[in-house]
Structures are given as C-alpha cells and as structure tokens.
C-alpha cells in the first residue's frame, strides 16, 4: 500500500519536474493536485499512536451498548481498527472528486504584511460546497450507512456547519437527514437552515414539541422532559445530541446517528486533508516545520496533522511541531477540569471517553466560534497532547477577529471564527520568528469560510463583542 502511494508521489514529482521550466518554484502561489492524485486510503493513527508511549484509551460505561444500535457495522469496524491504511472505496472517491483535492495556497501577502521570514501555506478546505472540512467525513458516513442498508441519518448541529455538511452528503447519496438544531441558533441563523433544507434535510429546533416541531415522527421524550422544566429553554449541543440519539434509537425508519467529530472514524476520514497536503508539499519540495489547526472536537486539526504526526512518531522528523488552537472561553486543553473519563453529552447517554474535559455539564460562553464550544475533545488527540507530541494554545475572541481582518485585507479570504483561532496562533508564531529570524515553514488548515458567520466580524468592527 505504502509503496504504491510512494510510486504515485514519484510520478507526480516527474510531472512537476517537466513543468518546472515554465514555472518558477519561487513564484508558487497555489499547488493544485490533479484528481487522479487523490489519496486512495485514509491514514489510521491507531497503528502508530503507541509510539508516543500510550494507546488510545478505550471508551467505557453503560453507553457502550448503544453503539451497535446507532452506527453501521462498517463504521464501527473503522472505529476499532488498527490497520494503518483503510481503503477509500472507488465510488466514494467519485463523490470526493466533486470538490477534492483542495488547493494548497501560499500566504505570500500575509508574509509580507507581517514582515516575517517564514513561508506560510494554507490548505483551502473551505472550497467544498458547504464551505468547510466537514463533508470529508459526512460523505463517507453517508456512504457507509447507505451501503449497510440504512436510509437516513439523525444528527445535532449547533452553529450549523456540521448539519449542513451532512445535509449536503445526504442529498448527494439519496439519504434522508434529520437535524436537531440548537433552538437559539435555529432562529438566529436562518442562513444555515436555508442550506440544510435546500439540500433536502429536515431541520427542527431543539428542544421543541408540536406544533413548533413540524414533523410528528421527530418528536422525542427528552425534549418534552426538558421543556417541562424550562419551557423557554434555548437548547444546547448536549440536549441536541441526546435528542438525535433518541431519534436514531427509536428508528421511525431505518435511520442511524451520525457524529461530526471526536470519534476515531471521523478523524480517520479527515486524514484525507493531511495526506493531500503532504503530497502537495512534496510537489514543491517543502516540508512544514509547524502545523496549525483549530480544535473543538478535534477532527479538522487531527485530519490535517496526523499524517505528519506519523513522521514525528517514527523519528523521521523529531523537530516537527504541532499547535492546536482552542478558544479561551472553552479551554479544555489549557485549563481542563480534569483529564480522564467523561460523557460526550449532557444526558449521559453516550459511552464515557477518556479526554481533557471541562465537565459534560459545562456551558461555555456565547462566542462566535460555535464549533469550538465543546467540553471535551477526541481521545486520539488528547493522547497526543497528554504525551506532549502536540502543543496547545488558547486564543481570545478579539485577537481572532484581528487576525481575520489582517487575513481578509492581505489574502482576500474571510475565514470562519473557528478557523481564525488557528490563524491567530500562526500569526503569533510568524511574529516570533520575525524577532528570531527563523525561516520556518508554517502550515495551517483553513478549515472553513466565514461567509455565513459575518455577524461576529460586524460586532468586532463595531467594538461590540460580548466576549473579549
């Protein structure tokens, strides 16, 4: 498998050599990977993680029993697999090709603005139709559920990035998608609902009951319980997860549950980002010194960094650094309540997983980066942080929007508030290198655009950010 990958890279190198005459490497602005260079396997870090001195801790608790009832066999086997490479089915590659491979872009104008000696590259995951990295796993989960005979997927969504990615995947594969959207976001972010319902999903506010819940077969007991206590409940991600799991367990039709982050198989699907980036760096004869990503549940960051992490674990790149950026308002890595087993949701329905956690009843302040408002993180990533293979940094809201404005004015891209945490961390490093004169190669996963979240930018410009 590996040697085949290497052969392909060799071939791509030759193509690049041939093109070099016309194309000065110095002037590289963007590296496009041809479609036939799309990675054909995902990289499973479970095969190499033990090299850091610890294996991925196994989930535990009574919640384990629900897993086979809400996930299809193929995804469960990926969740537990220790094979290094897991093949991407050919049919699934056809779906990936609708937007993949995504470009790797040099941030030359940002470099000039910062007067840094560093070379900065960003992986443009926002070019997918829903505008983020999320469809990488959404389309894979939809594919395997369909293959295993299921007709629909239930899920929760906060700000809406995950819900829209799964709706998009459902539309392409002909699966029904039932989305439980945090009630307050449901009314505040009609733009996201527009996307989900354009792709044919059914989206309801969580919690709610009829007539507010327009689809009678989507009514849940948990929502009733919550509303009896608090009729005006604004909802939370924890409540929405519990509702989606209850709905999937009830199976009004052959339907499963789908999660957009945290789990091993989700991180696995996201490694296509890092594998592509690796090939693109080889094409221009570069190798990054520091990799950056933002982290809420860990999937975009891990997907981007794991294929590179392998080189560090194998001792090939001992100096390689990884920086996971989280929100100051939700600092499970930098100020954890504890490191150990905790539930994934508020209602304690899920298995307990080993992680850095703020406690499953933690309610984070209302920052614009909705995707980073999760109390825990992926066990695989937590392991790497615990063993100090990866670094972590927490960034405040004012700093991220400052980074966002610099980025927009130099490069021209408007990044999502989540992604801006990574950019802010990168800018700190680039500025530090300006002082020291280090000519490092910095790479970042530009995981999503901010076109649907401009309200945060607007409040920043008007100096009205609720959380600094």
């Amino acid at each position: 498998m590996e040697s085949k990958e290497e052969k392909k890279i060799e071939k791509a190198k030759q193509i690049f050599e041939a093109a070099k005459e016309k194309f000065e490497p110095k002037s590289v602005i963007r590296v496009d990977l041809p479609e036939d260079e799309l990675p054909t396997s995902w990289y499973n870090i479970n095969a190499d993680l033990h090299k850091c001195g610890m294996r991925t801790p196994f989930p535990t608790g009574p919640g384990l029993a629900i897993l086979p009832k809400i996930f299809p066999p193929s995804l469960l086997s990926q969740e537990l697999s220790h094979d290094r490479w897991i093949k991407i089915p050919d049919e699934l590659l056809e779906y990936y090709k609708i937007w993949r491979p995504t470009p790797l872009h040099r941030a030359k104008r940002l470099e000039e603005f910062l007067r840094t000696p560093c070379r900065i590259y960003y992986k443009q995951e926002y070019v997918s139709p829903p505008g983020s990295h999320k469809p990488n796993t959404a389309i894979a989960q939809a594919y395997f559920n369909k293959k295993d005979g299921f007709e629909g997927l239930a899920t929760e969504t906060g700000a809406g990035q995950w819900g829209s990615a799964l709706s998009f995947a459902g539309a392409l594969l002909g699966l029904k998608v039932d989305v439980f959207m945090v009630r307050v976001s449901y009314y505040q972010k009609p733009g996201r609902r527009v996307l989900m319902e354009s792709w044919g999903a059914r989206c309801v506010p969580s919690p709610s009951v009829p007539p507010e819940r327009v689809y009678p077969d989507m009514v849940t007991e948990f929502a009733k319980k919550v509303l009896e206590k608090d009729p005006d409940s604004p909802g939370s991600l924890g409540i929405a997860i519990s509702e989606a799991i209850e709905h999937a367990l009830k199976k009004p039709y052959p339907i499963n549950y789908s999660l957009g982050s945290v789990l091993n198989h989700v991180l696995l699907h996201q490694t296509i980002v890092g594998l592509e980036a690796k090939k693109q760096f080889e094409l221009i004869d570069e190798y990054p010194d520091v990799l950056f990503g933002c982290t809420g549940g860990g999937s975009n960051y891990s997907g981007f960094t794991f294929p590179f992490t392998r080189d560090k674990l194998d001792g090939k790149k001992p100096e390689l650094r990884f920086v996971a950026a989280e929100a100051e308002a939700c600092p499970r890595f930098t100020k954890p309540k504890y490191i150990g087993y905790d539930y994934g949701d508020t209602a304690e329905m899920t298995p307990m997983i080993w992680m850095y956690t703020l406690g499953h009843d933690f309610v984070p302040p209302r920052i614009h980066a909705g995707g980073l408002r999760y109390h825990g993180n992926a066990p695989q990533l937590c392991t790497l942080v615990y063993k100090k293979v990866h670094e972590v940094v927490a960034i405040g809201q004012t700093e991220i929007f400052q980074a966002g404005q610099i980025l927009s004015q130099t490069e021209g891209i408007l990044s999502a508030p989540e992604t801006l945490h990574a950019w802010a961390a990168l800018i700190r490093e680039a500025r530090r290198c300006k002082e020291t004169g280090e000519k490092k190669v910095l790479a970042i996963n530009d995981s999503g655009h901010g076109w649907l979240d401009v309200r945060g930018y607007d409040e920043f410009l008007k100096k009205k950010l609720e959380v600094a």
Partner: protein
C-alpha cells in the same frame, strides 16, 4: 470496478491565458459592421466628461479596437491569488438525475475569494487605477461587485467607496460586512452623500444599478484623486471577464470537447462565451448556439426597445445604444441583485439584435426549482444570478432528452450564494416568493 472519471478539468497555472480578448472587433466581424458609438445628449459633452471619472488606462481599453490586451504579470499573480484558474467541472450527477444524453460542463467561477467571478474584473481595474496614480477607488454596481472591489482595493492599497442599491444593505447584508472588513465605505444608493443621490432618493427609494452608477460618477468626478470602476454594462468589464471564457476554451480542448450550446445569465454570459463567439466570427466553428438568461421582471432583452439611452439613472453618462426599459424605470426587487439594471451592455444587445444570441426570460419560482435540482446533485447552491443559467441548462438538457440527441452544454456558474440568502429564505423557509 468503477471507471475513473474526470470531474474537474484543472488548467495548470502556467497555461493561464496571456491576454484578454476585446469584444469590440469580434462583434464588428460577426455583424459585419461597426458597433454604434456612444453619443452626447444635446446640452452636455458627456463623452469628454468621462475623463473626469474614468482612469485613463481603463478609458483607453474601453475605447480600443485592438484584438487583445496582454495581462500584466502582477495582475496575473493577483488573479491566481483570488482563485484563478478555476476548474471546468462535469455535472455527472445532474445529467444522471435528468436522464439526459447531454454532457453538461460548468465553469466554477463561484470558487473565487469574493464568491463570484466579479474579482476577474475588479482586480485588473484596481491595478490600472493604482498604476494611473489614483489614491481612491469608487465602485458602483451591485453587492457582489462591491465585495470584489473591496478585495481588489486592498490588493492595491487604495481607499474605497462603494455605491450599491440601498435595499441591498438589508437583503444582502453579509456583503456589506465583508466590504467593511476590507476597509471600504459602503453607501446605499440613492444616498444622502451625493447631490444626485439626494435628488434620486425622492423618486426611487430602493435604488438600482443605475442609481449606483450616477452616484459613483458624481463622487469620482468631484475628486481628482479618485476613479470609478464598473462591473457590468461597459466594454472594459467584458474584456477582463474574457479570462473565464479563455480558460474554459483551453479546458474544453484538454477534455477533447467543443460546446454545442453556451449558456450564461445576463450577468455571466459574455465572460464565458466570448472566445466561442470569436470562433464563430473567424469561421473556425459554425452552428454553436448561444443562450442568455434573464428575468421576466426586468425584460430589457425581450420587451425593451433598442435605442440610445443613459446607462445611469440621472443621465450623467453618454448615451449608448442598447435594449432598454428606460433609465428612470423602477426595477422590481428580484433577488439577482447584479441584474437589476434597466438595460444590458451594448455588446450583448447587439448580439441579441442580430439573432446570434437567444434571450430566455424566467420568473423566480422556476429558477428555484432548477437550482434545487442542481444543488442536490452537484452540491453548490448557486447565486441568484447563476440560477438563471442553470434554469436554461436544465431546459436544454430536457430538450436533448426528448429529441434523443447528444450535445455538449457549457455554462457559467458565476457565483454561489453564501453571502446572500434572502431569496432562498423566501423559497425554503417562508415558502412564498414575493415575486413568483
């Protein structure tokens, strides 16, 4: 075993077009006569006045008969920056859903930084304006145009004032935020910031592309350090937009195809069609069909008269000959904001008049039906302008099926809708379009 199919044809950066095409000589050859020149109204020398608000380099391009203009290296780099070359994509899933023998290809202009192909026009214009020594840029047009101009202005470090129809400040609010992030000052036209704006506000409170034009002209005329840029109507935008078509032509060659039908909305048509019109003019190809799609609420191409009229509301510009509904007409609030103009460019007008390009007019309901089909199969939720092209493509593909005839359809996916979703809100959530 699934056979490997190519979905996106990627042009290597090194094979980008080296020069823009000029539509003027192509048109002259096609029509076998010169395009009617702009003229002055009775009392004013509006043609000479253009020098007060145009940048000299751009005015030279606007009035030139040269076949093409070389693309400066700096501009090329910035165009690559913002997303060029864009892929040419095959709509396999849509073809399957329509069960059509037609092969459908679409140019992914949506993938660029400003969410539309408008940066193709804004980036070179800002470059020439800066080269000519101006310090301030004035952009007049729709919200997408303003966003593209705000990116281009930052690339050249120019101050920027944007005039967009006033109603768009509400219906296309995210665009306003993007412009402000890029340090632009956004004016809702008719505004109280210009003399002509104050007058127009009494007659047309919502504004249109035409009112924005008048205010942009006044603003730039009064300041020697400022020049105005336009995203449609004039020759210059068509020249710069030709890069999309030139890429598409090169990509068709790589794919071994040639389009039988080229389709675009009024806003996106010429950008992608120009090289194929040039093939027709030079006799390299015959029989290619061209379709431009517009709104039945703004039916300039089918119900407007072809006559000399002002491109702007207040008549501060010279008179041009084009399909017009009358420069003082209040334009209904269709969601395709870039198309709320009483007329179309003189070039497009002449092509339609000569029967080379067929206009098709649609209401809004049928647009959403077609774009829903598109987004559920190809993923991208199109901009309101691109919906028109998609509706025409779906019609063409269905016709191909009923005739049982293969054909290659090429269309311009000129943008996606992430920065404006009021129309989709009416359609999907409220389930009622104000203008069906």
């Amino acid at each position: 075993m699934v056979q490997t199919r190519v979905h996106k044809i990627i042009l290597p950066t090194s094979d980008l077009p080296k020069a823009w095409l000029n539509p003027t000589p192509i048109l002259a050859k096609l029509l076998k006569k010169e395009l009617p020149k702009p003229k002055n109204p009775e009392k004013f020398d509006r043609i000479a006045e253009m020098e007060n608000y145009w940048s000299p380099s751009l005015l030279a391009i606007e009035r030139s008969d040269s076949a093409e203009f070389p693309i400066p290296n700096d501009v090329m780099n910035l165009l690559i920056w913002a997303g060029r070359p864009t892929p040419l994509q095959r709509a396999y899933n849509l073809e399957k859903a329509l069960n059509t023998p037609a092969k459908i290809f679409y140019k992914r202009e949506d993938i660029q930084y400003g969410t539309t192909g408008k940066t193709n026009i804004a980036i070179p214009q800002a470059y020439f304006v800066a080269k000519d020594g101006f310090k301030r840029l004035v952009a007049a047009g729709g919200a997408q145009w303003g966003t593209a101009a705000s990116i281009a202005a930052r690339y050249q470090d120019l101050n920027l004032d944007v005039y967009i129809p006033k109603e768009y400040l509400e219906s296309k609010e995210p665009h306003r935020v993007v412009m402000e992030v890029n340090a632009a000052k956004v004016h809702g036209s008719p505004s109280q910031d210009t003399e002509v704006g104050k007058q127009m506000a009494k007659e047309d409170p919502y504004g249109s592309i035409a009112t924005a034009f008048s205010e942009g002209v006044e603003d730039a005329s009064k300041d020697d350090g400022a020049a105005v840029i336009f995203g449609n109507f004039f020759n210059t935008p068509i020249v710069f937009q030709s890069i999309a078509g030139l890429e598409a032509a090169a990509q068709c060659k790589i794919a071994g195809i040639y389009p039988d039908v080229v389709i675009g909305s009024i806003e996106g048509f010429l950008g992608v069609a120009l090289p194929f019109l040039a093939d027709l003019a030079e006799g390299r190809k015959t029989g290619t069909r061209f379709i431009v799609a517009g709104s039945k609420y703004v039916p300039s191409l089918t119900e407007g008269k072809i006559d000399y009229d002002y491109p702007d509301y207040a008549g501060l510009m010279p008179l041009y000959r084009f399909h017009t509904l009358g420069s003082r007409r209040t334009i209904p609030l269709i969601h395709a904001g870039e198309m709320r103009h009483h007329g179309v460019s003189p070039i497009l007008s002449a092509l339609v008049e000569a029967g080379i390009v067929t206009p098709k007019m649609y209401g809004q309901t049928e647009l959403y039906e077609a774009s829903t089909l598109f987004c559920r199969n190809q993923g991208v939720i199109p901009s309101h302008e691109a919906q028109y092209a998609i509706k025409a493509v779906v019609d063409e593909a269905i016709q191909a099926k009923s005739e049982g005839k293969e054909r290659v359809i090429l269309f311009n996916l000129s943008g996606h809708t992430m920065l404006e979703h009021k129309g989709y809100l009416e359609w999907i959530i409220q389930k009622k379009l104000q203008l069906p």
